[in-house]
């Protein structure tokens, strides 16, 4: 696209609107698919799909898979695969459940809802997740066992380690602060959400502007100002629009009443309070932004993509690809633990089947999001959109009343179809 502006070739058609915006066509396609899906379900369900309540629920249901899908992008980009993420989620969830309900109360004598419980629990969970992930990475990178085998084994091992740790029981109730990471129990509230929305918009516009300034400083071609402004406008509307929606989902009156009673106050008559941004969604945003910066702006990210594009070249360029593999899998383990916090907090307990089939959902989300299994290509935002599309499909069908077997049949077919469309698109584009 930039070639158009820098190369004095005549006979070049005037760049189209999308080309001038320099938007990723695949991204637009996915957003389009998501919008069509939402509108379609909204029509079929007589307007029950696009309600603040449903969109709020949709976002908190997506978070757990989306967080892991972000890590899966790096795994798949380096031509590996991780089949153990659901099982790893279960193990870290079990570890955290046992830590807060058994270990801390009995060994350290910390009572129920001790203010330090949630923090210690999460630190332990993240540590265990990272350690297991690094162990997988070590076997893949240094022992050169294929990732498929390592994580297939890991799938069986960690699913059953979780079972063993909890003796197969559902563990609960969990710490009340810990539960705030799950969704409805922990939201920012309307005012903070607006502030966060404005802050995020500011950051996004600053990022666009500083990128443009860096290019201009070296005299590289830049987008026209109107294109930049349009992009900023779209981003601002998306962020603030989401804040508006989650703020419009009012906390049910009875629940609000209980919250006031807990503080020993009486609720004013007719008070309406919006939920605001769920803390779990906030975590997803932090993970997504951090990993996008890692992918694009750090050496680590650059090496991940270089290794995926040509492992031999990466090695010959002096990149320690073995250590890189360990780091990538450790990051995956860390993100599994983060997802375990969100998932178990949302369910308010640890159950033995937590995270079942998540490995497939996570891989599907990454692949629908444009991550190429042949390596070297993939984006974080694509994986999150992929997770969102899958979840919208699933909960939309549930809402319409599609039978459970048909739901999975449709999701499976959509996965294959999405990858096929991607292949056709890439062939037409001429890129491998």
């Amino acid at each position: 696209m930039t070639e158009t502006s820098s190369q004095p070739v005549p006979e070049k058609a005037k760049p189209s609107l999308f080309q001038q915006l320099e938007l990723d066509m695949r991204l637009l396609g996915m957003i389009g698919a998501f919008v069509i899906l939402c509108i379609g379900f909204n029509i079929v369900t007589d307007g029950r799909f696009l309600t603040p309540r449903n969109l709020f629920n949709l976002s908190i249901q997506t978070v757990s898979v989306a967080i892991m899908a972000c890590g899966m992008v790096f795994i798949i980009v380096t031509r590996h695969i991780d089949l153990s993420v659901g099982a790893l989620l279960a193990t870290t969830s079990a570890v955290m459940a046992m830590t807060q309900t058994e270990l801390l109360p009995q060994v350290l004598g910390m009572g129920l809802n001790n203010p330090a419980t949630w923090a210690i629990t999460i630190v332990v969970g993240l540590f265990v997740g990272t350690l297991i992930g690094a162990f997988h990475g070590w076997m893949v990178g240094y022992l050169t066992i294929p990732a498929f085998i390592v994580t297939l084994g890991g799938f069986l091992v960690w699913r059953n380690v979780a079972w063993y740790l909890t003796s197969g029981q559902t563990i609960g109730p969990l710490d009340s602060t810990f539960l705030m990471f799950g969704g409805t129990n922990g939201t920012l509230g309307a005012t903070t959400s607006w502030l966060f929305g404005l802050f995020a918009t500011g950051i996004a516009i600053w990022a666009l502007w500083s990128g443009r300034r860096a290019k201009a400083a070296h005299g590289f071609p830049v987008k026209p100002v109107w294109a930049e402004a349009t992009l900023a406008g779209i981003i601002a509307i998306a962020i603030l629009g989401y804040v508006y929606i989650v703020n419009s989902y009012a906390i049910p009156t009875r629940r609000l009443q209980r919250m006031f009673e807990a503080r020993g106050e009486t609720m004013p008559e007719g008070l309406v309070v919006g939920y605001g941004i769920p803390i779990s969604v906030l975590i997803l945003i932090i993970v997504a932004v951090t990993l996008t910066v890692v992918a694009r702006k750090t050496r680590f990210g650059r090496y991940i993509f270089a290794t995926g594009g040509n492992p031999d070249a990466a090695e010959l360029s002096g990149i320690n690809t073995r250590l890189l593999t360990v780091k990538i899998f450790a990051l995956m383990g860390f993100l599994c633990a983060v997802s375990a916090v969100v998932a178990s907090a949302r369910l308010a307990n640890h159950s033995n089947d937590i995270g079942t089939l998540d490995e497939l959902r996570v891989i599907a989300a990454a692949v629908i999001g444009g991550t190429a299994l042949s390596g070297g290509i993939g984006t974080i935002y694509g994986a999150i959109l992929g997770a969102l599309i899958m979840q919208a499909l699933q909960s939309g069908m549930a809402m319409v009343g599609v039978d459970a077997p048909f739901q999975n049949i449709v999701v499976g077919s959509v996965l294959v179809l999405a990858v096929y469309i991607d292949i056709v698109y890439r062939k037409r584009l001429g890129a491998k």
Partner: protein, 268 residues
């Protein structure tokens, strides 16, 4: 015509014979894969401002020998000296630290990344915050590409979208950008057209004049006769011999490659 070229070569070849240690000395190198000796007690050396050709059939061991120097392979036996000092080259990073740069036959480019990312791969410029400084790197990339290949414009496309010659110039840029003292070129013109081949030849002359030592691996005897000062010929993993290009003909080199025999020494 040969005569004129010969004088030019001798004058460029000032480092050798003046008592200074060679830039690189690979002594008695052996390496085997699964019982087969790919390189068998081979010694070669290289002086500043000199081009040494490595010749031989496919499988003669020339690429393997050179990969020991670039850190891609570990030798079983032997030693490498740079400026007369023994060095350990255990991986490509060590080679780079010793100012050894390699242009691989496969080019070793990450096809999904753009020219700038490939140029700086493993040696990215960073901002004070530790993030990669893409704009500064692109500016440097534009500078060096303007010297090497002024027609090059595709700075924002992945290198998979480039032509063979453009890809080659990215690989060359990567080798010469970081102040190489020792350059290894593994069949740099194998995939190129006549015009681009000439470009590489010009570049070799230019680098030579800067005092860079070059190992040139090539199949083509004529190219070696034209570009090199000396040639080392290998056959079946063994060194047949090293000759001054000025002292031999194309046919002498060919018979060394095919028969594995030293030409009879010319009377001095």
């Amino acid at each position: 015509m040969m005569q004129a070229q010969d004088t030019q070569k001798t004058s460029n070849n000032a480092g050798r014979g003046s008592g200074t240690p060679p830039l690189v000395e690979m002594r008695d190198i052996s390496i085997s894969f699964g019982g087969i000796k790919a390189v068998d007690h081979v010694s070669v050396d290289l002086y500043p401002g000199e081009v040494v050709g490595l010749l031989g059939h496919n499988g003669a061991g020339k690429s393997t020998l050179i990969k020991v120097l670039s850190g891609a392979y570990q030798m079983d036996q032997g030693e490498i000296l740079i400026d007369g000092k023994r060095v350990e080259i255990g991986n490509p990073r060590d080679a780079r630290a010793n100012n050894i740069e390699t242009i691989y036959q496969t080019l070793a480019l990450a096809d999904n990344l753009d020219a700038t990312s490939n140029l700086f791969l493993g040696r990215e410029m960073t901002t004070p915050f530790g993030l990669v400084n893409d704009a500064a790197m692109e500016a440097e990339c534009r500078k060096i590409m303007a010297q090497l290949n002024p027609n090059f414009q595709k700075f924002n496309d992945p290198v998979s979208a480039l032509s063979g010659g453009q890809r080659q110039s990215v690989a060359i840029a990567r080798a010469v950008y970081f102040n190489a003292r020792i350059l290894i070129m593994d069949e740099p013109t194998a995939a190129l057209g006549p015009h681009e081949t000439q470009m590489v030849a010009d570049l070799i002359h230019q680098l030579k004049a800067q005092g860079i030592g070059i190992f040139l691996i090539d199949h083509d005897v004529h190219a070696v006769m034209e570009l090199c000062d000396r040639a080392s010929v290998m056959k079946n993993g063994k060194l047949v011999g090293t000759v001054d290009i000025a002292d031999v003909t194309d046919d002498d080199l060919l018979s060394m490659i095919i028969l594995g025999k030293q030409p009879e020494q010319k009377a001095e």
